[in-house]
């Protein structure tokens, strides 16, 4: 991260990320920060970091931050938003955090239509603990706790959280994006911006699921990881907008 290609968004602190080479967490942080800058809401934004590789997000985002217990970010965000309704509250969560241990919290925050925005980073694995199976790991995906490949008979099928949450009336905006190429990155940023705008405009729950790489625990080079995301993840996790309030363009 030595060279600076773009100027740093104000909503990111001037510190180096700890993420591995080829990991998408850093790109996603940057897109979220750019959106906060563009909407000019940093002064009233409160973020909630998860337990996972992005646990230190509170050291990167240059706004008020909370570090939540594993999976509990949507409940923490609920407490924040219900106490400070004039703020803009977002959670940043991995797939273990959101789809496994915190499944109840995300479902009910969405069902209540909490006016919060969730940035859901789906990398199909537990990164922080060194590569165990996530609820989102693909069938036949080899991880440290599915060493023979994920087997549907025993581990079930991977969960598509966006599709599931989109069935809830309280969810106002749900989209799945990726950041594996410039075109997708632009779409991802647009979706993140919509999600924040929906919160700011007083609609209900909004979430952007972002397909992400974990080259380290996938056992791949950054290039191989980007290709695996494209060839394996996107077919099972189709990109697109699953829910939006009337009048919000696809």
């Amino acid at each position: 991260m030595a060279e600076k290609l773009f100027s740093r968004p104000q909503s990111l602190k001037d510190v180096a990320f700890h993420y591995c080479p080829g990991c998408h967490h850093g790109i996603i942080h940057r897109l979220v920060a750019e959106v906060i800058d563009e909407l000019d809401v940093r002064d009233k934004t409160i973020g909630v970091a998860p337990v996972g590789c992005s646990v230190l997000a509170y050291e990167y985002f240059n706004c008020d931050m909370f570090e939540a217990a594993h999976g509990r970010a949507p409940a923490v965000a609920t407490g924040i938003k219900r106490s400070q309704p004039d703020t803009v509250v977002f959670t940043y969560q991995g797939d273990g955090d959101l789809a496994a241990i915190g499944c109840a919290e995300i479902v009910h925050a969405a069902a209540r239509g909490e006016k919060i925005t969730t940035i859901f980073v789906n990398n199909a694995i537990y990164g922080m603990t060194g590569g165990q199976m996530a609820p989102t790991s693909l069938i036949e995906q080899v991880t440290n706790t599915s060493p023979y490949g994920r087997n549907a008979d025993s581990a079930g099928m991977p969960i598509r959280m966006s599709e599931m949450l989109a069935t809830l009336d309280g969810a106002s905006f749900i989209a799945r994006v990726a950041v594996n190429n410039p075109a997708n990155m632009a779409k991802a940023k647009a979706a993140i911006k919509k999600a924040f705008e929906i919160q700011i405009n007083g609609h209900g729950f909004s979430m952007v699921e972002i397909l992400s790489t974990c080259p380290t625990n996938w056992g791949m080079s950054p290039l191989e990881a980007a290709a695996w995301l494209e060839q394996k993840m996107i077919p099972y996790y189709p990109l697109g907008q699953f829910k939006a309030p009337e009048g919000v363009a696809k």
């Binding site: 008020d64 939540a68 609920t78 106490s83 109840a104 009910h108």
Partner: protein, 355 residues
């Protein structure tokens, strides 16, 4: 509001919280404290506050974490099995040093146990409960009036020390109706410069966090917490004592059990037995001082609890082997009669009274 009104313990907690300026409540129904949750559902909208029925106790305590971190006064309540679920969140709240009030109206356990009164959560209330080296301040009222006073005090203590405060009652206290008075408080809510409520012109972000990855930093944080706990022990230990000066036998009981113990003590006194009572009002910090003092004059102690013997361990630590400490308890929602405690008094005096 000086006149007395008749109120149920559970509802009195709710009204006292409102008097204390609490406008955020997150809870999940469980017997025998559900009246409190229902009371908050009714009252919070009337006073412009927030009531939210969470999807679980786990969620409720994490909502408390979020609310408390933004600087508002916030409360949650539950009963034993629900408190077990909250322990993860309480540990995070203690680690991040957030003020909040947690009510536990105890029932009998373990497991789903029963719905009748119990005091078997003493360990989980006073010894940490969740992971790590931390302490809750634990207040133990024994009347509906004291429930009111301690609930208000709980919010002040929480703010003063940036620490969770647990109000530990039991099903009997929660259901009991007594006349109460809500004394207007002059508490000025403290200014919380640390709160993460949006920067709003502040130059540096505020961060609510319990993670310290470097061992040196985590140890420093623990040392800081221990210093805070030492200050709480020094300044906030409370107890009540009755007829202790000349007592041969001193009863020890808190909450509802202290009322039974008191009746038994009065009967024993009328029979010329020299019996006294120490009633801890704070369970953590535990009032060790009176035990050290009366270990010099009393011949024995008798702890009475609605448990198989939990607080008695702290009594034994405080008496430190100088005098015998006997125990009498009922469990499972069974409540001893004053007569049963009286019989234990006579028995203990006979066996351990030295004469």
């Amino acid at each position: 509001m000086a006149e007395k009104i008749l109120m149920k313990g559970n509802e009195a907690i709710g009204e006292a919280a409102i008097v204390a300026g609490c406008r955020r409540y997150f809870g999940y129904p469980i017997t025998p404290q559900t009246e409190l949750t229902e009371y908050m559902a009714k009252r919070m909208p009337q006073v412009g506050g927030v009531f939210l029925q969470a999807e679980s106790e786990v969620a409720a305590i994490n909502m408390v974490y979020g609310a408390a971190g933004t600087g508002v006064r916030v409360m949650t309540s539950s009963s034993s099995p629900g408190i077990s679920l909250k322990q993860e969140g309480i540990s995070y709240i203690a680690g991040a040093e957030l003020p909040c009030v947690i009510v536990n109206i105890m029932r009998g356990g373990p497991g789903l146990g029963g719905i009748q009164p119990g005091q078997a959560d003493y360990f989980q209330a006073t010894k940490g409960g969740g992971h790590g080296d931390y302490r809750n301040i634990v207040l133990a009222p024994n009347s509906v009036q004291e429930i009111v006073d301690m609930t208000i005090q709980a919010f002040d203590l929480a703010d003063q020390y940036r620490n969770p405060v647990m109000l530990l009652g039991d099903g009997a206290l929660g259901q009991m109706m007594e006349p109460v008075e809500f004394k207007a408080t002059d508490t000025v809510p403290s200014i919380k410069a640390w709160a993460a409520n949006g920067m709003r012109g502040r130059t540096q972000p505020n961060i609510i966090n319990s993670l310290h990855l470097q061992p040196e930093k985590l140890e420093q944080h623990n040392i800081h917490l221990q210093q805070k706990y030492a200050a709480i022990q020094k300044n906030e230990t409370r107890w009540e004592e009755l007829y202790t000066e000349d007592a041969d036998l001193i009863l020890v009981a808190y909450g509802i059990t202290s009322r039974i113990a008191r009746s038994a003590m009065e009967k024993a006194r009328s029979e010329s037995y020299k019996v006294g009572l120490i009633r801890p009002q704070t369970l953590w910090p535990f009032p060790a001082a009176p035990f050290a003092k009366y270990a010099k004059t009393a011949k024995a102690f008798l702890a009475v609890e609605l448990s198989a013997g939990q607080m008695v361990e702290d009594v034994r630590l405080a008496v430190n082997g100088v005098r015998p400490v006997a125990f009498y308890g009922r469990t499972g929602g069974m409540i001893p009669s004053p007569k049963a405690v009286y019989e234990q008094i006579v028995k203990t005096l006979k066996e351990r009274g030295g004469n």
